[in-house]
């Protein structure tokens, strides 16, 4: 009795807890002592492109060189997908991302990893989410599993837009290896934003008078809505694709009547036909002597005359890709030169007459944003009247890029098949509706119509 009284009321509980703890510890040690590793892959996805969190801190990085999603698809032995998962990658806390692949020893699962921006994902009519292939980074990886194994899968910026081949299991790895077996190993641990195309490239020398430097870099051109367009319209299909543009100089304004006249007067355009006045195209404004349109962009210019004028100045017409690079904020994907705000009558020289606006025709008339809800027809680099004024000739023929430019990241692309006349037009004009100001639109080769002019690139 006295012995029992000597024990504390908690003693049995303490004793039992101690015994349970010792038993549990013994079980844990026993269970953990020889746990065999299970056969699997541990896959780490890395990249040298840009993450969204880096864009705010470094204005020289291009948004078009960034990804904010990683989609992983694992294919079984019969080639059908067995698992899919999307990962949001916003910054260093969520990237690199790693995951496991469970597979028996001796098997070789095929893994497709796609880096993309959510803005380029859209749901098709069947409800399935699809990614624009021309602006995404896709990589195949494959390795035979022997116990527990690790691999790195690197998404190199050089592979933007380059498709993989699931049938032959070939993939783009980097610029030098665009179609190699998926079993190719990557260089380990690249640094994000270290890709050479991620950062804008400044102009190396001074440009001609009246021009502005358009720094180079990667840019997404095109629009998903332009995969298929009305067959009876002259709008050219232009599905999204990433392109790499070298720095160049672009005229700040569209070429004016006196600027073109001075080239003719100086004899720099021998054999070239000047624009003519027309009773049908009443907006034609070129005169051989000083007239009433001295501050206006010259109209009714043929492609041949425009190209000859630019060459006489030591330059050329811009390519469609250069034009869109300049007009869409150099990789920022703007819909219009000023950003994404929808155009109105006060934003640019557009939509005259029955379209409801009364545009001013002088160059640079829409350069002040304060009078139009903060928007003006001025690009990120200060180029004027890209949205309105006159439609502007570009070098490319009136055919989709797919007609002559291979998939993948093209540098300074221009599409001009030998069997098609060169020339197409970009930008809206006083004769087009407001919606034609969208910078991704490109229209067919027009004759020297009353709303067609040009500017030069150098």
């Amino acid at each position: 009795m006295g012995r029992a009284d000597a024990l504390s009321p908690r003693a049995p509980v303490t004793l039992a807890a101690t015994l349970v703890t010792l038993a549990a510890a013994t079980l844990v040690m026993a269970s953990c002592s020889d746990a065999p590793a299970r056969p699997q892959l541990l896959v780490t996805v890395r990249s040298d492109v840009v993450l969204p969190s880096q864009l705010d801190g470094d204005p020289l990085l291009s948004a078009a060189a960034s990804i904010d999603r990683v989609r992983v698809e694992v294919f079984g032995g019969d080639g059908s997908p067995t698992a899919t998962r999307d990962f949001v990658v916003s910054g260093s806390s969520s990237f690199p991302v790693s995951f496991g692949v469970e597979a028996p020893t001796g098997s070789s699962p095929l893994i497709r990893v796609t880096g993309f921006r959510a803005a380029w994902e859209h749901l098709g009519q069947d409800g399935a989410a699809s990614i624009e292939p021309g602006v995404s980074l896709t990589r195949l990886a494959q390795k035979t599993i022997v116990g527990f194994d690790r691999i790195d899968v690197v998404l190199h910026g050089d592979c933007f837009g380059t498709p993989v081949d699931l049938t032959s299991a070939t993939t783009c790895v980097d610029a030098a290896r665009r179609a190699v077996p998926a079993t190719t190993l990557d260089d380990p641990e690249p640094t994000v934003a270290s890709w050479s195309g991620a950062r804008e490239v400044a102009c190396s020398a001074a440009g001609p008078s009246g021009t502005l430097c358009i720094p180079g870099g990667v840019s997404d051109i095109g629009d998903p809505a332009l995969h298929i367009v009305d067959l009876v319209s002259d709008i050219i299909p232009n599905p999204p694709r990433a392109v790499l543009i070298s720095p160049f100089y672009l005229d700040e304004t569209e070429m004016t009547v006196p600027q073109l006249r001075s080239l003719f007067t100086a004899g720099k355009l021998p054999g070239v036909a000047p624009p003519v006045l027309s009773s049908i195209d009443v907006e034609c404004n070129y005169t051989t002597t000083k007239g009433s349109a001295e501050k206006q962009a010259v109209r009714c210019v043929s492609y041949e005359t425009a190209l000859a004028a630019c060459k006489a100045r030591g330059g050329s017409l811009p390519t469609a890709a250069q034009w869109e690079h300049a007009a869409r904020g150099r990789g920022r994907g703007y819909r219009y030169p000023w950003g994404n705000q929808e155009p109105t009558c006060c934003a640019a020289a557009l939509a005259s007459g029955s379209f409801g606006c009364n545009p001013k025709k002088g160059i640079g008339s829409y350069a002040v944003p304060g009078s139009c809800n903060g928007i003006a027809d001025v690009s990120r680099d200060g180029v004027l009247d890209l949205a309105g004024g006159v439609r502007e000739w570009v070098l490319d023929a009136a055919v989709p890029f797919d007609a002559c430019i291979e998939d993948g990241l093209a540098t300074d692309p221009t599409c001009a098949p030998e069997d098609r006349p060169r020339g197409s037009t970009k930008g809206g004009s006083t004769s087009t509706p407001l919606t034609a100001a969208e910078a991704s639109l490109r229209r067919g080769r027009s004759s020297a119509m009353q709303d067609v002019g040009f500017r030069c690139a150098f």
Binding site: L27, V72, D86, V88, A225, D230, V232, S354, G356, T435
Partner: protein
């Protein structure tokens, strides 16, 4: 041949204008003055100016001859549909005035012009999809034939701001020959444009269809780092704006320690829906107390360890930073 006919019409029109000008001048000084300026403009081949003066004269004092001259000016400017309406209007006004305003020979000439115009017009059988869309030609809506002489929809005679008539899904329209910009639009659909050059007197079919615009869904939350999922797919951290085709979507907004906000939204073509997801901290319930789970954990751990020790399951797969393990079978 047709160009020669048009030239003949223009010359004849000029002679007729000169012949009948005094008759109108006598009817009122202001109208007459406008009419005379119109005649002067015709002499100078300034057809657009002439049209303005004749329209003004007609507005001040309606007269069949002014309408006739309006028709001639429209014809010279290449506005065949407008000229046709003016000529029919001139004949009707003359008839209302007991044929006292036009010489019979002039009325006969005018009927000839109308027949010529109706031969030169372009007739398009337009099929539109979906129903309810509006069609404009060169920025102006179509109009029911105001002369009442056909079931055609006429292009070029309405002002840009005029309302569009209710169009059937297939109808015939008359437009001027030459380059025409035909645009079909409907709220919530991407407008489609057709630019074609139609030769004189062409009959053609034109199918215009619209595709629905993607709708915009914007999701915000009272908590900054909440993750938004649409139809089970992560789309980003709030605030997030996505484009989706019209339809009904389930939306989840999640943030650790907060009750998941779930909702369903139906997006119409080209529409926009803004969702403000209120994030409410999870209530402190029994299952959220550390001591409860500590006790449960102790029991579960003991049980699990015991079971584990007995059954010796293989170790789990390594899911890396994401914790996800893909199955290959």
């Amino acid at each position: 041949m047709k160009r020669r006919a048009a030239t003949a019409i223009a010359i004849l029109s000029f002679l007729v204008l000169a012949l009948f000008a005094p008759a109108v001048r006598a009817e009122g000084s202001e109208a007459g003055e406008a009419f005379q300026k119109g005649v002067d403009a015709v002499a100078a081949q300034q057809w657009a100016d002439a049209l303005g003066w004749f329209e003004r004269a007609h507005a001040i004092k309606p007269h069949a001859l002014s309408l006739y001259n309006i028709g001639v000016a429209e014809l010279r400017l290449g506005h065949l549909t407008r000229a046709r309406v003016a000529f029919y209007g001139s004949l009707a006004l003359d008839a209302e005035n007991n044929h006292a305003q036009l010489a019979p020979s002039l009325a006969d000439e005018m009927n000839g012009f109308i027949r010529d115009i109706e031969t030169r017009l372009v007739y398009l059988t337009i099929t539109i999809e979906p129903a309810g869309a509006t069609v404009t030609v060169d920025g102006k809506p179509l109009a029911v034939d105001p002369t009442g002489r056909s079931k055609l929809y006429i292009a070029g005679i309405s002002a840009a701001a005029d309302p569009s008539p209710d169009l059937p899904t297939s109808f015939e329209t008359a437009v001027d020959p030459g380059q025409r910009d035909i645009v079909i639009q409907k709220q919530g659909f991407a407008p489609q444009a057709s630019r074609e050059t139609y030769p004189v007197g062409q009959h053609a079919d034109l199918h215009l269809s619209l595709s629905a615009l993607d709708a915009t869904l914007h999701v915000e939350s009272s908590r900054g780092n909440a993750v938004v999922r649409i139809e089970g797919l992560d789309v980003g951290v709030v605030p997030v704006t996505v484009k989706r085709p019209p339809g009904t979507y389930s939306i989840d907004v999640r943030s650790a320690g907060y009750t998941t906000y779930s909702s369903t939204v139906t997006l119409g073509p080209g529409g926009r829906s803004d969702i403000q997801a209120p994030m409410v901290k999870e209530q402190l319930v029994l299952t959220r107390q550390w001591w409860f789970w500590a006790g449960v954990g102790a029991v579960v751990l003991g049980s699990a360890l015991t079971v584990y020790a007995v059954t010796r399951p293989p170790p789990p797969y390594n899911g890396g930073s994401s914790g996800w393990v893909a199955q290959t079978h």
